[in-house]
């Protein structure tokens, strides 16, 4: 607990502040007692939609779903023509392995997210919002439905938002188990009731999105930032973090650490600080072997990368990506071939099947890794893996193709000797990778 207190002193929490306050229930009354729904009132009274877009541009807020695109700029692409119907979709399809922040934002402070959603909808002129929540989040969907009903009963959501004469409806749309629906155009297809197959871009959703109308898709954490940016001003927000990656970020830390959890820190702190100070460090008697810094789609790092700063540019420069903020730590008991094999099991299962390189390639990658891990690898397999990866990345409609090759190419780069040992010794030299279940 001592370390924890020090950290609380160091950084002022923004998004997790309410929910980390003892006794906070997350209902509408609690949210308003904590200062909630002030920002949307201010926006409706004082700002035109264009001014809200300018404020968000000035804050430097970048999307928290994975790509890090500047939010205000994304909104700016929406045509200003008031006769056009526009849609806002909130991406609550949190499915990137290693990431569990949006679930907490939804479960524990749904009104923070809803207030941000109203601000975003007003800014782009959307009268209808769909919150696309992954199907497995049954509890989260129930919590959101209840929060929306509370807000609707008070006139915060509906035909006349806060008596402004502006109508904004918010509906919860539940997914049904498909990772790819977190990709924004697959998400739109899924809302339209179809298979979640990503669309070719352009046209981008801002021009031709949901029901062929201009559409913005924003992540849960992204919209949750908005009330705070309005309340405290874009200059305040831009001063947190780094100049190009401003603000706080919630990192989900899991794997072999002492204290897995969601930690809200300014962008730009080191990976070492996040793991050692916040997540309690690697479990006793062990040392870090590899780290995935931004969800399963991000390239593996090694302990050499522990001083890399956690902001969009620094991580990209070091060869990986900040992605979804899901940080997975692995200690020396973890076989890297097994880890890549596990993740390719994920990608092989989740490939939507639209593009041949990804659909066929993910199966090939998975089966080659399977045989290497099981001691049946062939000397030519490593070159084969690299050739396959080169024929998938950049050759598909969406970024899934680039994502699925990242675990392989990065483990081949940093741990090639481990692959070679598997093939040479016809076995996994580390062990079967199976962590036992604790009895109690």
């Amino acid at each position: 607990m001592r370390e924890r207190e020090r950290e609380l002193v160091n950084y002022e929490k923004i998004l997790l502040k309410n929910m980390e306050t003892p006794g906070y229930t997350g209902d509408l009354a609690a949210y308003e007692r904590a200062g909630g729904y002030r920002a949307i009132r201010k926006v409706l009274k004082e700002y035109k939609p264009e001014q809200v877009i300018e404020i968000v541009k000035k804050s430097g807020l970048r999307g928290r779903g994975g790509a890090g695109f500047p939010t205000g700029t994304k909104w700016g692409f929406i045509p200003k023509d008031p006769t056009l119907t526009k849609y806002l979709c909130v991406n609550a399809d949190e499915s990137e392995p290693g990431t569990f922040k949006d679930r907490q934002l939804i479960d524990r402070d749904p009104h923070q997210m809803l207030e941000g959603t109203l601000i975003a909808a007003y800014a782009i002129g959307a009268k209808v919002v769909y919150i696309y929540i992954r199907g497995e989040f049954a509890l989260g969907a129930k919590i959101l439905e209840r929060a929306i009903a509370e807000a609707r009963a008070k006139g915060y959501i509906g035909k006349d938002v806060f008596g402004s004469g502006i109508g904004i409806e918010i509906w919860v749309h539940r997914g049904a188990g498909a990772y790819i629906c977190g990709e924004e155009t697959a998400l739109l297809e899924s809302i339209e009731g179809k298979r979640g197959l990503p669309r070719a871009k352009p046209p981008f959703p801002a021009i031709n999105g949901l029901y062929q109308k201009p559409t913005v898709v924003n992540n849960v954490e992204t919209v949750s930032n908005l009330p705070h940016i309005i309340n405290r001003g874009p200059e305040w927000y831009a001063a947190i973090g780094t100049p190009k990656s401003p603000g706080m970020r919630i990192f989900s830390v899991g794997g072999h650490v002492k204290r897995p959890g969601n930690y809200e820190v300014p962008l730009g702190i080191s990976l070492r600080e996040l793991i050692d100070e916040h997540a309690g460090g690697v479990r006793d008697g062990h040392r870090i072997k590899a780290i995935i810094p931004g969800g399963a789609s991000a390239a593996f790092f090694t302990p050499e990368h522990l001083d890399v700063k956690l902001d969009f540019e620094s991580i990209a420069q070091a060869g990986s990506m900040l992605g979804s903020g899901g940080v997975t730590v692995m200690d020396e008991t973890t076989c890297m071939v097994w880890a890549a094999y596990n993740l390719l099991g994920f990608f092989h299962h989740e490939s939507c099947g639209k593009c041949t390189p990804c659909r066929e390639g993910s199966a090939w990658l998975y089966h080659i890794l399977e045989r290497i891990e099981h001691g049946e690898g062939r000397p030519e397999d490593l070159a084969q893996l690299e050739r396959l990866c080169g024929n998938i990345a950049g050759k598909t409609v969406c970024a899934f193709g680039d994502a699925e090759v990242a675990p392989i190419l990065s483990t081949l780069k940093h741990f090639r000797d481990e692959y070679e040992a598997h093939i040479r010794e016809h076995r996994c030299p580390i062990g079967d990778g199976v962590a036992a279940l604790a009895a109690r």
Binding site: R134, G255, M330
Partner: protein, 185 residues
């Protein structure tokens, strides 16, 4: 498992009205597809061919459009399943902290393999991909509920609860980790 003979596989009138009630939320009926399939699954425990046919009529789609959607999403089952469907997350973060051991433990305890249903129709077991509970693994979802930080002892209690009461108080509530966060120093 097979449906018993003479079992009604059509949608009930109340299921149909639950589906129709959602139409005003969208500019077209097609968008109600996932919700309609969920209603169908909740009613019979799986999505029947008959229900898919009726959804096609309600949503003004062809039956194959309903079928291709139902088969794309992993949460829909076209075969009957056990009363309690246990889904164990097998993806990396959970695997690092004991997901494989959890699957083995459940297989031994239930006497079935992943992908199977117990002969009494009570439990189905399968492995699934990341459920966004990575910091709280190993974990499993049973029907709508998450169960996290699992140990052998905890699983025994959950299964006993489900056998006895049909539900377990060990299901996760609203998510917040680390849990110690707001305890006083």
């Amino acid at each position: 498992m097979r449906p018993y003979e003479g079992e009604c596989l059509m949608l009930s009138e109340s299921a149909k009205s639950r589906i129709v009630d959602l139409f005003p939320r969208y500019p077209d009926k097609h968008s109600v597809m996932l919700a309609a399939l969920r209603v169908a699954q909740e009613e019979r425990g799986y999505v029947t061919e008959e229900a898919m046919g009726e959804i096609a009529v309600l949503l003004e789609q062809t039956p194959v459009q309903v079928y291709e959607t139902a088969t794309f999403y992993t949460m829909f089952s076209l075969q009957p399943l056990g009363k309690h469907v246990i889904q164990v997350c097998r993806t990396l973060s959970c695997a690092l902290v004991g997901a494989d051991g959890l699957v083995r433990y459940l297989e031994q305890t239930l006497g079935i393999k992943a992908g199977e249903t117990t002969p009494d129709g009570l439990f189905s077991l399968k492995t699934v991909e990341c459920l966004a509970a990575c910091g709280a693994g190993p974990m499993m979802q049973i029907n709508d509920d998450y169960y996290e930080y699992l140990t052998g002892e905890k699983i025994d209690r959950i299964l006993a609860d489900l056998r006895r009461e049909g539900r377990s108080p060990l299901a996760s509530g609203p998510f917040l980790i680390p849990l110690l966060i707001s305890s006083p120093p």
